[in-house]
């Protein structure tokens, strides 16, 4: 059976996943979806892109790279928001592997796949393998729609928003430079687009002014620091991306070759390399009454 695979996201994980798939002889066609364009800060890990590719669409450049070197594989790029693709688009794939950086698109695709399975009475059942990273940590979830825990079943395991600082502290009682940045960027100038360097410089200047008024140290203050807070930037490095993407692809290879017990095997894997190197898998049970995959929820 020749294999047709959908890759969601052409970022750090997406580039790695695409490369790994290109090295598998049974994979004949890969579709890759990503609406983003390439930025300089991507280049420390998204190795299918070059400096000259900055501002070009990720999916397109990634597809070109692989198509030009591996003629046996056809890569089809989709430069668009995956939620704008019709549900019928998804049903032609044998596997869906995602390396997305947001929660909502994952929930969207999960719901579509579970629906496809339940509505077709299990005639269509597309394994959905989801990878994610943060710094030196990562996870891989293997979802067999309608059989194992779906993405929604484990949604409560996501870390809750960090202890949010009350608005009165930020407005009247700021204690640290983070509070200053929070106030300037979200209360004072929420309309400013931080993609513009001039705007970030402006916010930086306002932060200095406000910090001086409250006598708060500006030692840490810089444009990178401000962007880290406003965009809640997640640290990312080639090595962790490689390990998580590889784990996603190994899962796919094992399912393809019927090497694992889909129903009872471990479906969640955690990776943490900050102290030694650690990989652990366990079985995450389906959530009774899950809004998406439980039959009695309707």
């Amino acid at each position: 059976m020749d294999c047709k695979i959908l890759v969601l996201g052409a970022g750090g994980l997406g580039c790695e996943i695409l490369k790994n798939l290109a090295m598998l002889s049974f994979v004949k066609q890969v579709h890759i979806v990503d609406m983003d364009t390439i930025e300089l800060t991507n280049l420390n890990r998204q190795f299918l892109f070059r400096d000259a590719d900055i501002d070009k669409p990720k999916a397109q450049v990634a597809a070109q790279y692989v198509n030009s070197r591996f003629p046996q594989l056809q890569v089809v790029p989709h430069v668009q928001d995956l939620t704008t693709l019709p549900p019928s688009f998804y049903k032609d794939f044998q596997f869906i592997i995602s390396g997305l950086d947001a929660i909502e698109p994952r929930r969207y695709i999960n719901e579509i796949l579970v629906k496809l399975t339940l509505e077709s009475n299990y005639e269509i059942c597309i394994p959905f393998i989801d990878g994610g990273t943060e710094g030196l940590k990562g996870h891989v979830k293997t979802i067999i729609p309608g059989i194992t825990a779906c993405w929604e079943c484990s949604i409560d395991t996501l870390p809750s928003q960090q202890d949010t600082v009350p608005m009165c502290t930020i407005a009247n009682n700021p204690r640290c430079i983070e509070h200053i940045v929070e106030y300037v960027s979200t209360v004072k100038y929420p309309e400013l687009d931080v993609e513009s360097t001039a705007n970030v410089e402006f916010i930086l200047e306002k932060c200095y002014e406000r910090a001086a008024r409250f006598n708060i140290s500006t030692e840490k203050l810089s444009t990178e620091f401000i962007l880290g807070i406003i965009k809640s930037i997640i640290p990312s490095v080639s090595t962790t991306n490689a390990m998580v993407a590889a784990t996603c692809c190994t899962q796919m290879v094992k399912i393809y070759n019927d090497l694992i017990d889909l129903e009872n095997g471990n479906n969640f894997t955690l990776i943490n390399c900050s102290e030694g190197c650690f990989m652990y898998s366990f079985k995450f049970e389906r959530l009774p009454g899950c809004q998406v995959c439980s039959c009695d929820s309707n």
Partner: protein, 462 residues
């Protein structure tokens, strides 16, 4: 540096600078593992790579990068220094300079004799040899072994939960004075709510000591003391956020079993003789010098276990004014502690770079170390682990023996289509190399076994 923004958030500009200046030597035949290690290192910023090729009789697997040099160059921010050499030639050069490498990586070596030769080269140079990472992949399995020649010190371990050094149990005089400026019997609730919990907890500890409490201070005792000292404020105090924080963090006022004890042990057992020999890695040498300085300060001042205050303070409920005053006290004390270390270094005519000293002091609790093991590159042969044994047999005998074939547990030991397993180990090996180069995060100690069928790993020491 903008290119590296996403990883600078992991190891900072200093760690990145070390990476950019480092040279890595990779030894082995052309395999996906070798290529993946190269790719990950160049992306992370390593700008000098040397490939010592091992000629391999086995059929080579297909690779993603067609031309290493040409394909790796665009991934580097600066000029990539790239060199290829025949390993056999290099092994014949008795004066080959191995010390220019920060790390040596062995990927999928196939000849037993090569490993023996390398081990001999390493043995002859004693401690003056870079850390060696040796890795192999077969089917869905793989191993990675770290062989150190000298103790590796970690400047910042980045523990999962950040621990602040607050000195609640033994506040220094200036802090005590500040705490005493608050008289809880004379404040109203509004003023009380602006007092940081640190002040409240120090008051609790002082009270417990004054009351002649000889028992070990426990969370319950601290909480009792807290309700007593806040008694004049009435019941409404229970709902004040700073009071709630003080209860939540009461454990910080109790003696703790944590890394600071580990560090005390480390200091106690530190041998001065360490300083005698030449250190291969300048960071290891500098961190050791700093630890020895702490030891000598403790001995001179008879101050048990002198440790520099980091000076960082978590955010907490407080008025801006109180918080900034408190922060200033911590920062001033941290500066003084750092100055004491600098003076001690000057007295003993030792030098440490400003950057290392700075990080050492401001993140003191994160220092860790890994000692070299007694086993060398050949340690992988003398283990009782069945998976490691099976892997070593495949690696150096080239085929599965009957013994392994009968083991069901190793299904897929020679499976095809394992590029992604190579990619996994390539990520893991590069990650360990980066940890060794940056001295950030704790490397493996010292054998990592990967099981790609179960998606699990084990680490143990050989």
């Amino acid at each position: 540096m903008e290119r590296y923004d996403r990883q600078l958030r992991l190891w900072g500009p200093l760690g990145q600078d070390n990476l950019n200046r480092s040279r890595v030597c990779v030894i082995g035949p052309a395999t996906p593992l070798l290529q993946e290690v190269f790719k990950n290192l160049v992306l992370a910023g390593v700008s000098s790579l040397t490939w010592l090729k091992e000629k391999c009789a086995a059929q080579s697997s297909s690779l993603f990068l067609a031309d290493f040099k040409k394909d790796l160059e665009p991934m580097a921010s600066n000029q990539l220094e790239y060199e290829e050499n025949d390993l056999v030639n290099i092994l014949q050069q008795s004066r080959y300079d191995w010390t220019r490498f920060s790390v040596v990586v062995l990927t999928c070596l196939s000849k037993h004799s090569t490993l023996l030769d390398l081990n001999e080269v390493k043995r002859q140079r004693g401690a003056n040899f870079p850390p060696v990472l040796s890795a192999f992949v077969s089917g869905f399995y793989g191993y990675m072994n770290l062989v150190l020649s000298e103790t590796h010190f970690i400047l910042r371990a980045h523990p999962e939960s950040k621990k602040y050094d607050l000195r609640l149990q033994n506040p220094w005089p200036e802090l005590v004075n500040y705490v005493n400026t608050f008289d809880l019997s004379r404040v109203d609730l509004a003023t009380f709510s602006g007092i940081p919990y640190i002040v409240l907890l120090i008051k609790c500890v002082t009270k417990l000591k004054k009351d002649g409490n000889n028992e070990k201070i426990t969370t319950d005792l601290v909480k009792d003391a807290l309700s007593q000292i806040c008694l004049p404020l009435g019941n409404n105090v229970l709902y004040e956020p700073n009071y709630i924080e003080a209860r939540r963090y009461a454990y910080l006022a109790c003696p703790q079993n944590d890394s600071s004890n580990e560090l005390e042990d480390l200091l106690r057992n530190l041998k001065i003789s360490y300083c005698g020999h030449e250190w291969f890695d300048i960071y290891n040498h500098e961190i050791l010098t700093l630890l020895l300085a702490l030891k000598s300060i403790s001995e001179e001042s008879e101050e048990l276990g002198f440790q520099p205050l980091t000076g960082s303070l978590p955010d907490m409920e407080s008025t801006t004014e109180n918080y900034i005053k408190l922060k200033e006290l911590y920062e001033v004390k941290a500066k003084l502690d750092r100055f004491r270390i600098e003076q001690s270094l000057t007295r003993s005519k030792k030098k440490v770079s400003k950057d290392v000293l700075g990080t050492f002091c401001s993140h003191y609790g994160e220092i860790r170390r890994i000692m070299p093991s007694k086993s060398d590159l050949l340690g992988i042969f003398s283990t009782s682990n069945t998976l490691l044994n099976a892997l070593v047999v495949v690696q150096f005998c080239g085929q599965l023996t009957e013994i392994i074939e009968s083991k069901d547990e190793f299904t897929g030991l020679q499976a095809d289509g394992n590029y992604s397993v190579m990619a996994f180990l390539g990520g893991a090996v590069a990650q360990e190399a980066i940890k060794l180069i940056t001295h950030h995060y704790v490397p493996i100690d010292n054998l990592f076994l990967y099981n790609g069928v179960d998606n699990s790993s084990t680490t143990y020491k050989i």
